[in-house]
């Protein structure tokens, strides 16, 4: 059986690298993209089994991408985990939890995320 494919989209390349190491060590195949537009292109190229998506990104943010995916019949079934510092760490941001709820992501995980929580969330959605 082939490994499940997880796509991580975050504008912090070190975060993408670390999260991908976490997931690869658990047997997942991992794709990487560094903003919403790259993420969109990566999804068109290969449909992920789960999408891990940062919220605050340049060019196209995570909420925008998630909203687009959920409104497209070809991509709306892709499970999305929003990986976000919104809330406790960044209380003054214009990216609110209310926005997050409206984009219908399957899960929210606040940063910093530990490997066990992330893997558990991914496996729950597969």
């Amino acid at each position: 059986m082939s490994a499940k494919y997880i796509l991580i989209v975050d504008d912090d390349p070190d975060l993408v690298e670390t999260v991908s190491m976490m997931l690869e060590s658990k047997g997942f195949e991992v794709g990487k993209a560094y903003d919403g537009i790259e993420g969109e292109a990566a999804i068109k190229k290969r449909r992920p089994d789960v999408l891990i998506l940062d919220v605050m990104m340049p060019r196209k943010n995570g909420y925008e991408l998630c909203k687009e995916l959920k409104s497209n019949k070809w991509t709306q079934e892709i499970p999305v985990i929003l990986l976000t510092a919104v809330g406790e760490a960044v209380p003054t941001t214009s990216y609110s939890h209310a926005d997050g709820m409206s984009v219908e992501a399957e899960d929210f995980i606040p940063k910093p995320v530990d490997a066990a929580t992330l893997v558990e969330a991914v496996e729950r959605l597969l």
Binding site: D14, L15, E17, P112
Partner: protein, 330 residues
């Protein structure tokens, strides 16, 4: 800024990091090799202030040089593959770029170069790499919106009492290689050596390069895994490659060493974090062999026998998740 003070021990904390942190001057790029040399970058409007501060703390034999009008150019992901780093260096060479410093993070390799050479450097990078997000250099440049407001919004919220860290990842069983090479050789011999290491499947989790005195030499410091997955020693392989491409140089190997990688959030945009790290290690009398701060990570190399103590002190110094076990590939 290039800084060196060859006759002064243990000056990194009190003479370099502490005064900059006190004045809330952020380091967007910071490299150090034991025991005397650094390259650091601040926002250009803080350059003179940083120079004055460091001068006020510097020993008489110290050397300080401010290079105004520089930029940081980074490529990611390098996946620790030496051939990616080698191609990056070669691209800069073909763009006739003078490198003022190189630093690695877990994902990226960064260079400090004159802002005037950014355009030709990016054009060369597009000759040698494919960037999924950008079809051309023009597209890349048009997408570079000023990040100031975005960063201010995010970073202003990270004025916490204890610096938050996403991960502290130890990586034992490394070799640390150190050598001084002619400036021209970093653009030819060293890049070729990296290409060959890549062909052999070696990985480089850490690399810094700093200009030596007078700008005619580069001080290189990089790490490789000590052993192959099957148990064989990588050291002789690496030494052979370095000797074949840089025959006049004598690479020094320090082994065993360990890396520790601390990651974000927004390390590259917040002041005082390097100072917190260096001060904690100095209090614990842990010798820093080499340091690289770029993108959103701090990568440091210490002696392996000091790894456990360093993990404890860093765990007590930063607000980090409990789970900080070694993960991933070497």
């Amino acid at each position: 800024m290039e800084s060196s003070s060859p006759l002064e021990d243990n000056r990194l904390g009190p003479s370099v990091c502490a005064p900059l942190a006190r004045q809330r001057l952020n380091l967007t790029f910071f490299t150090h090799v034991a025991g005397d040399r650094e390259v650091l970058c601040t926002a250009s409007h803080n350059g003179e202030a940083a120079l004055t501060l460091l001068r006020s703390q510097a020993a008489p034999a110290a050397s300080l040089a401010l290079q105004p009008g520089t930029s940081i150019l980074a490529v990611y992901p390098h996946d620790k593959r030496p051939e990616v780093i080698g191609t990056f260096i070669r691209s800069l060479a073909r763009a006739r770029v003078v490198i003022h410093g190189l630093a690695s993070s877990p994902s990226a390799i960064s260079a400090v170069l004159s802002s005037r050479r950014i355009k030709p450097a990016v054009e060369q990078l597009f000759e040698h790499f494919t960037f999924p997000g950008f079809a051309s250099p023009e597209e890349f440049f048009s997408a570079q919106a000023p990040p100031k407001e975005y960063l201010e919004k995010v970073v202003a919220t990270y004025q916490e009492k204890v610096n938050k860290v996403y991960w502290i990842i130890p990586q034992p069983d490394l070799d640390l290689w150190g050598m001084s090479i002619a400036t021209a050789d970093i653009l030819a011999g060293f890049a070729a050596a990296l290409m060959e290491m890549g062909e052999l499947g070696l990985v480089i989790p850490f690399l810094v390069a700093l200009p030596g005195l007078g700008g005619k030499e580069f001080i290189l410091s990089f790490s490789t895994a000590r052993r192959q997955p099957g148990g064989g020693d990588h050291g002789s392989e690496v030494r052979h490659i370095l000797k074949s491409h840089l025959p006049d140089r004598r690479p020094m190997r320090l082994t065993p060493v360990a890396g520790i990688f601390l990651h974000g959030p927004h390390f590259g945009d917040r002041y005082g974090i390097a100072h917190t790290l260096v001060a904690a290690l100095e209090r614990a009398r842990i010798s820093l062999l080499a340091l690289s701060c770029t993108i959103s990570s701090i990568s440091l190399i210490i002696r392996q026998k000091e790894l456990a103590a360093a993990q404890v002190i860093l765990g007590n110094t930063f607000a980090a998740p409990v789970e900080c076990a070694p993960i991933g590939r070497t």
